[in-house]
Subunit: 333 residues, 2 copies
Amino acid sequence: MRIAVDAMGGDYAPEEVVKGTVQTARETKVELILVGQPEDLARELARYDTDGLAITIEPAEEVIAMDEDPVAGVRQKRRASIVVAARMVRDGRADAVATAGHSGAAYMAALLTWGTIKGVRRPTVGCPYFALQEKTFIFDAGASVNSKPEYLLQYAQLGSLYLERVVGIPNPTVALLSFGIEDNKGDRVVGEAFPLLAKSDLNFIGYIEGLGVAAGQANVIVCDGLVGNVAIKVSEGLSELLLDMLEHEVATRLGPEKLNSGFGQALASVRERANYELIGGMPVLGVNGVCVIGHGRSRARAVKHTILQAMHAVEVDLVGTIRAGWRDLAFND
Amino acid sequence: MRIAVDAMGGDYAPEEVVKGTVQTARETKVELILVGQPEDLARELARYDTDGLAITIEPAEEVIAMDEDPVAGVRQKRRASIVVAARMVRDGRADAVATAGHSGAAYMAALLTWGTIKGVRRPTVGCPYFALQEKTFIFDAGASVNSKPEYLLQYAQLGSLYLERVVGIPNPTVALLSFGIEDNKGDRVVGEAFPLLAKSDLNFIGYIEGLGVAAGQANVIVCDGLVGNVAIKVSEGLSELLLDMLEHEVATRLGPEKLNSGFGQALASVRERANYELIGGMPVLGVNGVCVIGHGRSRARAVKHTILQAMHAVEVDLVGTIRAGWRDLAFND
């Protein structure tokens, strides 16, 4: 198996991406291809003992910056690392892409280079609710915005297929995220998506509000990418804030040495469950290829988990699995 | 001062509303009018010693249920408690409304009974980020959805006026909530609101993502009501989840008696700051009257804080203050 790693993507690229790649190569047998500026990557690689590791470099001279438009970036920068990586998969030179870069650009590179599964109008990228609620995923988590009602239905379908056939959650429950739980508590788009979900074959349980996300009240939580991104990022920020506050309170009231006691371990254990780094990344669902998108803040550890997710997606034949499931859906209609 | 309390609104009405009203009457000199089913209210009141308390009952036989459409509910149910309460203010029989009921209905009752301040197309209801970030408020927090770009500008303007002239935060910073911080990270509506905010006189600092909410990176965080409601409710749910998890970890690792120690106090202190009950409620901004909307889950303590907020809004002449500020804005244009 060969994974093309977008070595220029992410807040700490290429340093942390190379570091995470080296760590992964040491722990697995997989071939890892660092895609990016060859000189930078050679310099970073030289900092590690890479003897016997299956790491190669694929030159890509351009980068799509965080403030660039994803569509224009992917179309115009043919030598951008994420575009070169996606093309390697298309040409059979790699089995999957792993990136911590511009998620919009990664999503568009996957979509434009590989195309969508027949009938999929809007691919989606989800995110589990950390290890806090491991069976609760939000679709879409930020890749797809300006959602129409029929797109929300597709996120629900793709998300359900992924949870049922890849994650292994039987008959996953599906809920629409809104500002209340009664049947009339939707805005225009969510309100029009409601009957589409209700009459689908999905295990639809109705509206859910923000409280239900943290409570894990559904497996597939469906919303526009802006809403999903806000829910995930607010949670990430709040976890840090609350746990820092608590650490401070304990240190002030009981003395800083208490943080090294059993209490410190309890705090560390909860902090770990709220840590996005363990998620690594999530695949774009509905395209003809594997592209796992990690967190832009990824450091080496998160990069490693992103690559591991990409490997896992190849192992379980993510694309074939979703494609077969999608065909079954169409057949049932 | 006389506050009309919507005694039939909220998950625990009328029991907890009456209880909270009695508590407030004991602690303040204000006249409180319980609006709702007279028999139910008389029965609940009889459970307390109300001797010398300035509590009266105003009959209102109908209730707008949580699953009712707010506009239809307010228009058709002329005897609904929230509508009767709003009319009392219009007729000079009360100075403000306090409610923990259907927020959409309360918002519409205020809007339709009192009208908006000249030039305000969309009133808004905000919410502070708990006592976790007391200087960070989200506008809109769930009352106003299907927002157009120009509505987002109005939430920003009304929110800024409220923070500057009522809360007392000088020159409050304003940010648009989106899925990234770069200038191109907006969906269609947020993207079109961006230049409106940028060319306004507001202290606009650009996009903010979910992480920035918990970090308190701006005073006025502007978004559609669905997004704001999700951000607030996810935070509320996550606070409970994390603190419960931690309590469980400590009890398991160190024994349940540890929860009564200094550590238990540290936990309680953080839990208190994440508690929505202390907020009480928030006023509808941009209408010609004071209506403070509390949390639907309000129990007596939260009801009390909602009434106190309504009293405070009357004391500081919220409506006159916002109206004068709005006129200044128009004058500057």
